[in-house]
């Protein structure tokens, strides 16, 4: 019994310590002397890896989600004769919620897991050690460009996701189900507000990006350098960052839209 309690305590202490290590890693990578000139090409390369290579899955998912929303929304709205409100319904759900959240979940699965595995393997094959012995800080050289690339890519992916989703909604709602194209756009325009809806979505996606990339790089950097350790770290990245995204989404939504 005493061992059991001691076990709980030890597990919690380990969690706090690991959070501390993660914070130190973040500081080491971001705060300490950013070498802009050298890091820009590296960051561009990482934007290619985490951003451009996630583009296809984002566009396809955005298109389908927009189409499904239009289909579902139409069947409900037509019952009230309010199918003209299809545009704002699709646009608002995408901009406020689905855009940032679904992009973040896809990003965690597509890019986050890849980041963890890549960094974990670099650790296992002594590449990180070897950088350190070459007097190059792996935090700055490996972690920092990936952090920045994720922070830059995610809002862009979110914008693309929402835009494609709205077009997908148009495709189904207007071209297939026969909602008037003019009212689809104009009611959307009179409802959607740039600051409240679009900017808040971008802010959400920035927060999600930060959390996902932080978790992904830390899990890779802190992984046990064996094949089992890396696979465990990759799983943890996806699970933890998905949960973090959903939890944070609630908090952010409450802050942004809750009180009016």
């Amino acid at each position: 019994m005493l061992d059991w309690i001691a076990g709980i305590g030890a597990a919690n202490i380990a969690k706090v310590r690991s959070f501390g290590r993660a914070t130190l890693m973040l500081f080491g990578a971001v705060i300490a002397k950013p070498q802009l000139v050298k890091n820009v090409p590296l960051t561009i390369k990482q934007i290619y890896v985490v951003g451009v290579q996630s583009l296809l899955i984002i566009v396809v998912s955005g298109l389908f989600i927009g189409m499904v929303m239009a289909l579902q929304g139409y069947t409900i709205l037509v019952g009230y004769g309010a199918e003209g409100s299809l545009g704002p319904m699709v646009a608002l759900s995408l901009l406020r919620e689905l855009g940032p959240v679904v992009t973040a979940l896809l990003f965690a699965g597509r890019a986050g897991s890849a980041l963890t595995a890549e960094i974990g393997l670099m650790k296992a094959t002594e590449q990180l050690s070897s950088l350190e012995m070459m007097a190059i800080d792996p935090l700055r050289r490996i972690i920092a460009p990936r952090l920045w690339a994720g922070m830059i890519s995610m809002p862009m992916l979110t914008l693309i996701f929402s835009a494609v989703g709205i077009l997908g909604g148009h495709l189904v709602g207007v071209d297939w189900l026969g909602v008037d194209s003019g009212s689809y756009w104009s009611i959307m325009q009179s409802t959607v507000e740039w600051n409240k809806d679009v900017m808040n979505g971008i802010i959400k996606s920035l927060v999600f990006a930060f959390v996902i990339v932080w978790i992904a790089t830390y899990k890779g950097y802190d992984s046990v350098p064996t094949s089992e350790g890396i696979s465990k770290a990759t799983t943890q990245t996806v699970v933890l960052s998905s949960l973090a995204v959903l939890g944070l989404d609630f908090v952010l939504t409450a802050l942004m839209f809750g009180i009016e």
Binding site: Y48, L55, P155, W185, S186, S190, V198
Partner: protein
């Protein structure tokens, strides 16, 4: 060579994102109407604004000419004051114009309908900051039902 391809694709990626952002700005959120210097302000007092919101449309015969800027409560007589920004190119509304709060469809958005009045000598055009005197409030469903029941009895 490989890095050049990556740079190119990142460029394409950024352009795509900018295009998406522009589309959201212009086509979805319609940023153009809020440009400065192109609008002037009209105000109107209503008894009840119903479901009118900031950024609701102001329409003349179905044509959007402006948007609701702000909704405040007058501290003297506790009636709502709606201020609307109207595009500069529509600046010839006579003082006799009236505004009413209308609904598009049964459950649709509420908007302000501006009904231009007659113009003749001695009647000036509405200028920046003027109040539109003739207003008609929103229909509140509960009042309507109440009236209906009352008149039946």
């Amino acid at each position: 060579m490989k890095s050049r391809k990556a740079e190119l694709l990142v460029g394409v990626f950024v352009l795509l994102a900018i295009a998406a952002g522009l589309m959201l700005a212009l086509k979805v959120a319609n940023q153009t109407m809020s440009g400065k210097g192109e609008t002037y302000v009209l105000k109107a007092k209503f008894d009840n604004i119903g479901g009118l919101k900031v950024r609701s449309a102001v329409k003349v015969g179905g044509v959007t000419v402006g948007r609701v800027d702000s909704i405040t409560l007058s501290s003297n007589d506790f009636t709502p004051i709606v201020s609307m920004s109207i595009a500069k190119k529509y600046d010839k509304f006579p003082e006799t114009s009236s505004v009413s709060i209308l609904t598009s469809g049964l459950l649709g958005e509420q908007y302000i309908g501006l009904q231009p009045g007659f113009s003749m000598d001695g009647i000036k055009d509405l200028a920046d900051g003027d109040f539109v005197e003739d207003t008609k409030s929103a229909l509140v469903l509960e009042d309507l039902i109440g009236q209906f029941l009352f008149s039946k009895k």
